[in-house]
C-alpha cells in the first residue's frame, strides 16, 4: 500500500515498500507557473534526505528539487524532457524520479496530506 507524504519544500513522496516515487505538489506547480524545464539527475545517483537532486524551471522562477527521504535514483521520467508541462497538468501523477529507499526514517517527519495543506495556507 502506498503512503503519500509531503516535504516542507513542496515535494511529495509515494512510498511503497522500499521503493518510492517523488514529484512536486499542486501548490508548487501553481507557484512556478508553466514549467519549461526539469533538470533530472542521473540514474544510479544517491542522495540523502534534504539534498538537492535536481531543479525545475519556469519562465519566471527556478527551484531546487530536494529529496524528501534518502535513496538511489532508479528511474527518471524521460517524458518530462520533451513535455515539461506534464508537471503542471498532473503534478501528483507525473512523478519526476523513482528511487530505491536507503533510509526511510525521514518519512516519519514528513507531512501527510492534511498537515501539508494546512502548512502553506
Amino acid at each position: 500500500m502506498a503512503h503519500l507524504k509531503f516535504s516542507q519544500t513542496h515535494e511529495w513522496v509515494r512510498l511503497e515498500g522500499d521503493h518510492a516515487e517523488i514529484g512536486i505538489s499542486e501548490y508548487a506547480q501553481h507557484s512556478l507557473g508553466d514549467v519549461v524545464f526539469v533538470d533530472l539527475p542521473q540514474v544510479g545517483s544517491h542522495y540523502e534526505a534534504g539534498e538537492e537532486f535536481g531543479a525545475i524551471e519556469s519562465v519566471k522562477a527556478a527551484s531546487e528539487l530536494n529529496m524528501p527521504i534518502s535513496g538511489t535514483v532508479t528511474a527518471v521520467n524521460e517524458a518530462l524532457i520533451d513535455h515539461p508541462e506534464l508537471v503542471n497538468q498532473d503534478p501528483l501523477k507525473n512523478w519526476i524520479i523513482k528511487i530505491k529507499v536507503t533510509d526511510a526514517s525521514h518519512f516519519d517527519h514528513l507531512l501527510d496530506e492534511a498537515a501539508y495543506a494546512k502548512s502553506h495556507k
Binding site: E57, V59, K60
Partner: protein
C-alpha cells in the same frame, strides 16, 4: 540660471513642493543624518560649454600611430554605416529588453549576433555577449567547473597574458586551481599537458590562434581532454575562424574570446565585446543573457530573452553567474560589421591579413635583423626575435610614428598586420625599421 539638462523653473519647484506640502527641497532629506549632509559643493571644476569641452578633449587624446601591433586589439577597416546605425537613439539609449514588446530591435540584433557567433565558431548556441574576451574566458572556466564538479582548470601558457591574469584572479577568488601549461616551441607542451592531465580537471583552455600568432591543432587537444573527461575551451579570434578549422568541428565544447576584431575601434581597450558559445547540451549552463525566437499573441515572429531562470534576477545566489548585462551596443556593431563583410568579405579580411603578415615577416627576416622565433604555422600575427633590444627599436619607431611589435621579452616581439596594410605601407615600415636599427 537653469542648466540645460535640468528643466525645472523656480515656479515648477514651488508648485511641486506645494503639492507635497513641503517648504523647501531640503525637507525632502529629513531622514539623511545631518552629520553626512554635504555642506559644500563638490570639488569638481566649473561647467564648460560644449565648445570648451570639445577643445579640451580634442587636446586630451593619445597620439595616433601606424600600428603593427595586435595582441588582443586588432585594427580592421571599419565601414562608416556601423556608427550611423548604432548611434540611432532607439539602439543607443534603450535599456535591457525586459519589455520585449518595445524592444524587438535590440532582441532581433542579439539573435543575429548569436547566429553570427554560431556560424563562425561552428557551435550550437551562443549567448548575447559578455564584457570582453578575458572575462568571457573566466566565465567559460566557471561553466566547466560547474559542469564537471572539478575545481581545477588547465590553461595554455600561450593564451594572451591579460587573459591569463584575469583567469588567475577569478580562479583565486572562486576557489579554483588554475594551472598554466608550459609552452614549447610556441605551442602547448604536449608532454607537460599529459603530466598535468593525470589529476582530474574540468577543462583545458587553449588559445586559437595563440599569443604568438600560431595556429595549433585543436582536434588533438579535444581528443585528449575528452579522454580525461574534461572539456576543451577554445579561446578564439573570430576573424581567424573564417579560414581555420572551427572549434565546433574540432570537437571543442566551448568557444569564447574577444569579438573586438569584428570591426570595433581600438578605443584604448574598451568598450569591447566578449562572446561565448557552446554545444547544445550545455545551453542551460551558459552564463549571460540569451535571446530566443518565439511568436506573439498576434501570430508574428518575435524575439524574447529566454532561459532567464538561470540568471541573477531569478536564481540570485544560485545563479550560474552574476552577470546582469552584456555589451549590447558593441554586439550590434560587431554584427553589422560581420554581416556587411559577410560570407566572402570576412574570409577576404582573414586572407589579406594573413597575406600581409607573411609578407611583412618575410621582409623583416630578409633585413637580417630578425629571425622567426618559432617554426609553427602562423596567421596574422608572428613572433620575431630581433638581434638587439626590442624596446630601443620600438622607441625609435614610435618617434617615426609607428607602433612596433609587442615585446614579449628583451628581444622578441609579436607583430600584427591587418587587411589595411598594403605593400607600400609595409615596405615603408620595413624601411623605418632599418633606419631605426641604424640609429640605435
Amino acid at each position: 540660471m537653469n542648466h540645460k539638462y535640468l528643466p525645472h523653473t523656480d515656479a515648477d519647484i514651488a508648485g511641486m513642493l506645494e503639492t507635497l506640502r513641503l517648504r523647501s527641497l531640503d525637507d525632502l532629506f529629513a531622514d539623511v543624518p545631518e552629520k553626512v549632509r554635504l555642506k559644500s559643493a563638490y570639488d569638481i571644476p566649473p561647467a564648460l560649454s560644449e565648445s570648451q569641452l570639445r577643445t579640451h578633449l580634442g587636446q586630451s587624446g593619445g597620439r595616433q600611430l601606424v600600428s603593427f601591433r595586435g595582441f588582443g586589439a586588432y585594427d580592421h577597416e571599419r565601414p562608416a554605416h556601423i556608427d550611423a546605425l548604432s548611434s540611432r537613439q532607439e539602439f543607443l539609449t534603450s535599456y535591457t529588453p525586459y519589455q520585449p514588446e518595445v524592444s524587438q530591435g535590440t532582441l532581433q540584433y542579439i539573435f543575429e549576433f548569436q547566429s553570427v557567433v554560431c556560424e563562425l565558431t561552428g557551435l550550437d548556441v551562443a549567448n548575447a555577449s559578455m564584457y570582453d574576451g578575458a572575462t568571457a574566458a573566466a566565465e567559460a572556466m566557471m561553466m566547466a567547473v560547474i559542469l564537471t564538479n572539478h575545481p581545477r582548470v588547465l590553461a595554455s601558457g600561450a593564451l594572451l597574458p591579460h587573459v591569463l591574469e584575469v583567469l588567475k584572479t577569478y580562479a583565486h577568488f572562486r576557489g579554483v586551481e588554475l594551472v598554466v601549461v608550459p609552452t614549447k616551441d610556441g605551442v602547448i607542451d604536449t608532454h607537460e599537458l599529459s603530466e598535468l592531465s593525470k589529476d582530474p580537471y574540468a577543462a583545458l583552455i587553449a588559445a586559437y590562434p595563440n599569443r604568438f600568432g600560431i595556429v595549433e591543432d585543436l582536434s588533438h587537444l579535444a581528443e585528449q581532454t575528452h579522454q580525461n573527461q574534461a572539456l576543451l575551451i577554445a579561446y578564439c579570434d573570430l576573424v581567424a575562424l573564417t579560414v581555420f578549422k572551427t572549434p565546433g568541428s574540432a570537437g571543442a565544447d566551448i568557444a569564447c574570446g574577444e569579438a573586438q576584431s569584428l570591426g570595433l575601434p581600438l578605443s584604448f581597450g574598451g568598450p569591447y565585446v566578449g562572446y561565448l558559445a557552446t554545444i547544445a547540451k550545455y545551453v542551460r549552463k551558459m552564463p549571460g543573457r540569451i535571446c530566443g525566437m518565439t511568436t506573439d499573441n498576434r501570430g508574428q515572429r518575435a524575439y524574447v530573452l529566454t532561459l532567464q531562470a538561470r540568471e541573477q534576477h531569478i536564481r540570485r545566489d544560485k545563479a550560474n553567474s552574476n552577470i546582469c548585462s552584456n555589451q549590447s551596443l558593441m554586439a550590434l556593431q560587431a554584427t553589422i560589421y560581420a554581416v556587411t563583410l559577410g560570407r566572402q568579405g570576412l574570409i577576404e579580411v582573414a586572407k589579406r591579413s594573413i597575406g600581409a603578415m607573411h609578407y611583412l615577416a618575410e621582409r623583416l627576416v630578409a633585413t637580417g635583423l630578425f629571425k622567426k622565433t618559432y617554426d609553427a604555422p602562423f596567421g596574422y600575427e608572428v613572433a620575431l626575435t630581433y638581434r638587439r633590444k626590442i624596446d630601443a627599436l620600438n622607441a625609435k619607431l614610435t618617434e617615426k610614428g609607428y607602433l612596433g611589435g609587442y615585446p614579449l621579452d628583451e628581444r622578441t616581439a609579436v607583430y600584427y598586420a591587418g587587411e589595411k596594410m598594403t605593400k607600400t605601407l609595409i615596405d615603408a615600415f620595413v624601411a623605418a625599421v632599418k633606419e631605426a636599427d641604424h640609429e640605435i
